[in-house]
């Protein structure tokens, strides 16, 4: 049996297949469809220090091979997560990662400090790339200085694995990745959504209440693969690849480009069982290609 396990910072994933924040709820929503313990890990949705109602609807519009969303980090806040959600999911035998967002650096720190004591949460994903909030979010992720400031502060207040989720809405994502690596990140995950918009030409109004939103889905995959390739060459910490992964082939493509693990996002909406199919595809691919260890595939593109 091929070895699919990978290491991200100090956490070990039984396989490289994770789910992306904001697309998989708290895992529970998919418990009817798949055995969550089969996943390498899952990232629970963006959590902030205080409760957030998110943006008004409409929050979503379909686009060619993708979708725009403008949820705006709706969540009940970190205390509610710790008191009401964590107890329900903590016994799932998979790596549970909490995606952390904030309006300023102290928010990120406060949330991470509250997560520190939780036995079953051994990694956070610092979201400096949410395009759907007025303050913070992407603002931190589009400059090296902004990214550094958040990561340094979190690093000093959180001793477990720190993953930093990068924005693709930049000229040189490798530069940002190098900055967060220098600031002490254990891994980077990319890409978050692309800032986009769509207009209803009959009403002349934007489809989203916030005018712009985050583009995800298969449409962005070629750009995401390119960015994963560039970043994995630029940094020595593990890269978690995401952006339009719809099936096992796409997952392998990201691994070959340099990703140590991958996250499945929008594809969960189209097929709630897709993550399991991807794991099975990778196992089958490794047998077909006589690959014993998944690390032989990581960055294995032949030029």
């Amino acid at each position: 049996m091929a070895n699919l396990s990978v290491k991200i910072g100090n956490i070990e994933l039984k396989n490289p297949v994770m789910t992306a924040s904001g697309t998989f709820g708290y895992g529970e929503e998919y418990a009817d469809f798949i055995d969550l313990s089969k996943l390498g890990g899952f990232v629970v949705k963006g959590t902030t220090i205080h409760h957030r109602e998110g943006n008004p609807y409409p929050r979503m519009v379909e686009t060619p091979s993708g979708m725009l969303n403008a949820v705006g980090l709706q969540n009940h806040g970190i205390d509610y997560f710790i008191d009401s959600i964590y107890p329900r999911i903590k016994d799932i035998d998979s790596q549970i990662v909490v995606n952390v967002s904030g309006s300023d650096v102290s928010d990120y720190v406060a949330v991470c400090e509250k997560l520190q004591p939780l036995d079953r949460i051994n990694a956070v994903e610092i979201n400096i790339s949410c395009p759907n909030v007025k303050h913070g979010g992407m603002a931190f992720g589009t400059t090296c200085a902004g990214a550094e400031s958040v990561v340094k502060a979190v690093r000093n207040s959180y001793s477990k694995t720190v993953i930093v989720k990068l924005s693709p809405n930049v000229t040189d994502i490798a530069e940002i990745a190098k900055a967060v690596e220098a600031a002490g990140a254990d891994a980077v995950s990319l890409v978050n959504t692309f800032l986009g918009m769509a207009i209803n030409v009959e009403t002349r109004k934007p489809y989203l209440s916030t005018i712009t939103g985050g583009l995800s889905g298969a449409c962005i995959r070629p750009i995401a693969v390119r960015m994963v390739w560039q970043v994995s060459k630029a940094v020595s910490i593990p890269v978690i690849g995401l952006g339009g992964i719809m099936n096992g082939r796409d997952a392998i493509e990201f691994l070959l480009a340099g990703a140590t693990a991958i996250q499945v996002g929008t594809a969960n909406f189209i097929d709630p069982t897709v993550t399991i199919k991807i794991i099975e595809y990778i196992e089958d691919y490794m047998i077909r290609h006589r690959v014993d260890n998944i690390y032989e595939l990581i960055g294995g593109m032949k030029i």
Partner: protein, 256 residues
């Protein structure tokens, strides 16, 4: 209720008119999931270039004798255009059942539907009748030809019709129909938003318990993506796909 991702086989595709098809579907593995009136399914459309996400379609009817699920499809976009042309024998993959449905109360119940909104009321009417309720259907459409499944509705209750052109039933909107003069224990409604709001305000004035079934642009259908929210009195933004699509009007922040 447990949700499934299941393949169904199209056993019949009844073209009701230019705009509408009634798809009858059998689960490939023979096992029909439990479902409740007002719930919906997410259909995967395999052959539409311009359809990336699944399409939410409300459950029209559950034919337990023939183990068939009925979906009433209206041609809205490219996805549904392909869907209404689905040949018999072909497969459809669905996530089923989704959402919270209508409540099943007792007594004198009026079910109001407009356009394709009549779909969930057939299944609901049947369940209510079997429960011993006195069911009345108030169905509205632009014109005679747009009224759907009338013969089916007749099996489960009294029929009252409104058409905008007066080609059948009373002329005007459902909200102008004289049946609304009578009193009911419950009104359950599905149709265009302006119609549902008008019905809701009548129900509120007459102090009748009222439920409506909302639409919203959905991605996941299971409450994971938080795209399809409705602002509620009880808990702020909730998911139409998971906490709805059926809401009691007292929980909605509608200005009515």
């Amino acid at each position: 209720m447990k949700k499934y991702v299941k393949d169904f086989k199209v056993s019949d595709n009844v073209h009701l008119n230019e705009q509408y098809s009634l798809l009858k579907l059998k689960p490939v593995d023979g096992e029909m999931p439990d479902m409740h009136p007002g719930q919906f399914v997410q259909v995967y459309i395999d052959n539409s270039k311009n359809t990336y996400l699944r399409r939410p379609i409300s459950i029209n009817f559950l034919d337990k004798i023939n183990n068939e699920l009925w979906l009433l499809i209206r041609k809205a976009g490219d996805g549904t255009r392909h869907l209404i042309q689905t040949p018999c024998g072909s497969m459809l993959n669905m996530i089923i059942p989704l959402g919270k449905g209508f409540s099943l109360k007792n007594g004198n119940i009026l079910l109001i539907g407009g356009g394709v909104g009549v779909a969930p009321l057939l299944f609901l009417g049947k369940e209510l009748k079997e429960k011993g309720c006195n069911v009345s259907f108030l169905l509205g459409a632009r014109s005679k030809n747009d009224l759907l499944e009338i013969d089916e509705f007749k099996k489960y209750g009294q029929i009252y019709l409104s058409t905008e052109d007066g080609s059948v039933g009373e002329k005007g909107f459902v909200t102008q129909n004289s049946i609304l003069q009578s009193s009911f224990d419950m009104i359950q409604c599905c149709g265009p938003l302006p119609m549902m709001k008008a019905v809701a305000s009548i129900a509120r004035k007459k102090n009748i318990n009222c439920e409506v079934s909302l639409e919203n642009s959905m991605a996941c259908g299971v409450g994971a993506c938080l795209c399809c929210v409705e602002d509620t009195v009880s808990s702020g933004n909730v998911c139409v796909c998971k906490d709805g699509p059926v809401f009691n009007i007292n929980d909605l922040k509608w200005q009515i």
